[in-house]
Amino acid sequence: MKKYTYTEKKDTRSGFGAGLLEAGKRNDKVVALCADLIGSLKMADFIKEFPERFIQTGIAEANMMGMAAGLTIGGKIPFTGTFANFSTGRVYDQIRQSIAYSDKNVKICASHAGLTLGEDGATHQILEDIGLMKMLPGMTVINPCDYNQTKAATIAIAEYEGPVYLRFGRPVVPIFTDADQKFEIGKAWMVNEGADVSIFATGHLVWEAIKAGEALAEMGIDAEIINIHTIKPLDAAAVLKSVAKTGCVVTAEEHNRLGGLGDSIAQLLAVNNPTPQEYVAVNDSFGESGTPEQLMEKYGLDAKHIVEAVQRVIKRKKTI
């Protein structure tokens, strides 16, 4: 198992804030909109540097999405910022008609995704957003794993033409990817090569997968760990290549098991190479109040549950 260490923990939303500032410096067409959550979205540095390119919309997310679509018509590259819940479910029809169907170059940037939003509880902890967004034709869906990757992804989506959903989170998590990485949309990142099982993880679950990989190595299980930061378009070649080698799959995500990364992988495999698969995901329920750590444990989204899923799926492996 390749060794991953970290010296610092930071929130992925701060990676977004840093990436937005950098994207703004590189391209004066980049504009930002926020629905009364500047502090939560870490947009202050962008606003300080480019006050004329920032639009405070107030608590009016539907209007924000429509205005973002309109800004693209004049050649702007708008980044919208609010919580994941208010970035997707609240404004689904606005995104569907005015952004996705209208082929608008809007970057929907969504913080506080998933259970790790914590104490605010289920009203704010959306676990359905990946599914909602990936079902929209033409929408790119990205869920990076740490501060550095989120910063790099933010810069990358500014350079990409088309609607994007960028999902990140609230809590501080280890920084274990390179600071100077180039983010390639749609290209899976090989975290650890292995032979016994393929673990496909996204977002905060990538670090948990690494911890699980270390525990599995001590048990003599050689896990391949792949970071699927881009859920759509899915890196099908990377998934199929890995599965051809390992013959079993665990998917790990901070999302409902219905409609998320696991389903994308399962659909790909069902058609191309039916393979035993276990899901590490929320089992079709809402969340609740608690600390991020408590919630990830209770809802089965930590390294321990990934290890257990690996043990289950290896037993189901086809034997020739």
């Binding site: 504009v31 004329e52 390119r53 639009i55 919309t57 107030g58 009016a60 539907a62 209007n63 924000m64 999405m65 429509g66 205005m67 973002a68 679509a69 309109g70 800004l71 693209t72 018509i73 004049g74 050649g75 702007k76 708008p78 029809d93 606005q94 569907r96 008609q97 005015s98 169907y101 209208s102 082929d103 608008k104």
Partner: protein, 281 residues
Amino acid sequence: MNKNVDELKQVASQVRRDIVRMVHGCQSGHPGGSLGCTDFLVALYFNIMKHDPDFKMDGIGEDLFFLSNGHISPVFYSVLAHSGYFDKAEMATFRKLNSRLQGHPTTHEHLPGVRIASGSLGQGLSVAIGAALAKKLNGDERLVFTLHGDGELQEGQIWEAAMFAPHNKVDNLISTVDVNGQQIDGPTAKILSLGDLHAKWTAFGWDVMTMNGNDMADVVKTLTEAKGRTGQGKPIMILMHTEMGAGVDFMMGSHKWHGVAPNDEQLAAALGQLEETLGDY
């Protein structure tokens, strides 16, 4: 390009013929609101707006129009075709398979002249404000126009946008509401009353004007005056009173022709009331 009132009336007669023929041709669509808003769209595209039928999505240096009540697509398509955005013959494909003239307007089929999909109501004002903000950022002094149905004002997003534009001094925007008092299920006053629209938009901070949307002279006069009131810190709202079905006597005065196509006899009766001025497609 800038036609006078008499010339505009000639264009409007042909556009109304196109509307009833398109809707008859596919036995589907929305003739009532389309006929009611014909004079407005004809005035916009043939007198009021600076625009280029050699279509470019960014519309820099041009006035832009956003149709928020996308169901009145027949009038939009006819005006675009007669303006030269695409061949008039394409109107025969309206609402048919593989057409660029979808039931509701879309950019997805790359029809020149359309900058946003509309149909799901209440979204066009926000889009127009975004486009108006982009014009300001680009130093582009041209204007943005919109059209909405009065029933559409029942959508909450309209009022989010209504609050935003005056607060942010989006004064390069001229919006219009088609006040015909009708929606699918009946009169707006019965379905969900809109109340005093003049007082509401004024209270939100808009510069509110009114006009008779079926009097071409009044439409041109009011829109011209509205252009002169831009750039003064307020978005402009024109409450445009129209008769649903205007121009075809048996389609007027009722919500029943909101989304119903004429049969062969009704088509003939309608065309008998509308002079063919520019040639049918």
